[in-house]
């Protein structure tokens, strides 16, 4: 494959920026354009629900790179400009303002949008959290709020509840699962997380479906739950998941199915790639398609895309990984705990608030969890390589030796 004479990256978050950096680091000197919907410089999202919401960081601290570092990339940044259409055959992207951009290689890295449920939108005092602007708005109102209800018991909902509680509000965390983050942690560790939240005064309403909002004068006053009853609230955060930002790709010719469907090389069509939260790629070792909404995956996948654009032939076969910081505890998970896996502690002690656990399914390790033991958890990651990232090693690792 010949080197493309120009690369267009759509989406200026962590994944998009990492594609640009990866290309330059590998010596690519042709034209690169980075198109981003938000007007500001690329920023990092994990701090939004934690440091930014809590006020520990100013918004500017989330910026991924300084202006100098971005300038040195010698790429054209088109920020505050939304992509509105792609023609995959000619690799032409149209933008909302009518611009037409064409490149030999196009990377889709448009990420996610917060899911907005019809029953959970409209009145004042109801928030979602996806962008830096969302976080700033939410923080402003959290400072005034007395009773906060977080709807959604996934990672983001649990983080927002934790942060809001530390800010002094009365907080209720509600969702359909038996315990927060049960899908990511399994029954036992989710139970520990529930106890952590309860111990800090977060009220949990598990196994609960939300039906809608109570309002007064255009402002939210409570959350109505199935089976009758209302949880009073003067601020509601809907953290009910996200959807891949692929609306602009309708009619593009790309296969869209809960994300941009790619092969194991993160290729969606000839000369079209996807990276980050939006990409549904074929994980060769697992033998199935996977879409990861993880911060580290965004950059790791972007590196693979950059390599493949330049003619390497690298499969993306990661050990999935995410972390979350809640109420003074740092939780890290490598791999994907299966519903039938059993968890057992391999280091430390849950009673002491520090441990590493391994999840086994049919005698094989499928995931590792660290609870305030980051380094030790990372050392156990090696037990997962057979399942997720079997040899041969990626080309970049091989050339370093």
């Amino acid at each position: 494959m010949s080197t493309p004479s120009g690369v267009l990256v759509v989406g200026a978050g962590a994944a998009g920026l990492a594609v640009v950096e990866g290309l330059r680091r590998k010596g690519y000197r042709e034209r690169i354009t980075l198109l981003g919907e938000e007007a500001g410089l690329p920023y990092d999202r994990p701090p939004l629900s934690k440091q930014v919401l809590a006020g520990a960081w100013e918004a500017g601290r989330t910026q991924l790179r300084t202006r100098d570092v971005l300038d040195a990339l010698d790429a054209e940044f088109l920020l505050g400009e939304r992509a509105s259409a792609l023609d995959d055959a000619t690799r032409t992207v149209r933008t909302a303002s009518g611009r037409e951009l064409k490149a030999d290689a196009v990377v889709v890295a448009t990420g996610l949008r917060a899911r907005r449920l019809p029953g959970l939108t409209g009145p004042a005092g109801v928030h979602v959290l996806r962008t830096l602007d969302d976080a700033t708005r939410l923080r402003g109102e959290l400072l005034e709020a007395r009773r906060v209800v977080v709807v959604g018991d996934g990672v983001l909902g649990a983080e927002i509840a934790a942060t809001a509680r530390l800010m002094g509000s009365e907080v209720t965390l509600t969702g359909p699962q038996a315990a927060p983050m049960r899908a990511q942690l399994g029954h036992e560790a989710a139970g520990l997380l529930a106890a952590l939240h309860t111990g800090h005064g977060v009220r949990l309403r598990p196994d609960t479906l939300v039906e809608g909002l109570e309002t007064s004068g255009g402002r939210v006053t409570g959350v109505r739950v199935a089976g009758g009853g209302t949880i009073p609230a003067d601020l509601v955060v809907a953290a009910v998941g996200s959807t891949p930002a692929t609306d602009w790709l309708a009619g593009s010719g790309l296969d869209l199915e809960d994300g941009v469907v790619c092969d194991s090389r993160c290729r969606a069509a000839d000369g079209v790639y996807a990276a980050g939260d939006v990409a549904r790629f074929h994980h060769e070792a697992l033998g199935r398609s996977l879409r990861l909404e993880n911060r580290t995956s965004a950059t790791e996948q972007a590196m693979v895309v950059a390599a493949n654009i330049l003619g390497e032939d690298r499969p993306y076969s990661p050990v999935p990984y995410f972390w979350t910081d809640q109420l003074g505890v740092k939780i890290q998970v490598y791999g994907l705990p299966t519903p039938t896996a059993t968890m057992h502690v391999v280091e430390g002690d849950p009673a002491q608030g520090r441990f590493v656990a391994r999840y086994d399914d049919e005698g094989h390790p499928v995931a590792v969890l660290g609870w305030s033991m980051p380094k030790q958890a990372r050392l156990h990651r090696q037990h997962l390589l057979d399942r997720y990232a079997p040899a041969p090693p990626p080309a970049s690792a091989a050339t370093q030796r």
Partner: protein
């Protein structure tokens, strides 16, 4: 090349250690980055650059001219 790390930003993911274990480590107690070699030899620069690009907290800063 000279490396600096921002311990306040570091989230303890340990990605840098997976890529460049000769240059980075983590503290036993909280997983925060430990810089083993602030001015590594040239044959380690590529791994360090990859670590800096991959760091999920943008906590590794490189000064290539230094």
């Amino acid at each position: 090349m000279k490396i600096t790390v921002d311990e306040e930003k570091c989230c303890g993911a340990g990605q840098c250690v997976l890529i460049a274990p000769e240059v980075f480590d983590q503290r036993d107690e909280d997983g925060i980055v430990v810089l083993l070699d602030a001015a590594p030899p040239a044959d380690r620069h590529e791994g360090v650059r990859e670590s800096a690009d991959l760091c999920p907290a943008a906590a590794i800063h490189l000064h290539e001219d230094a």
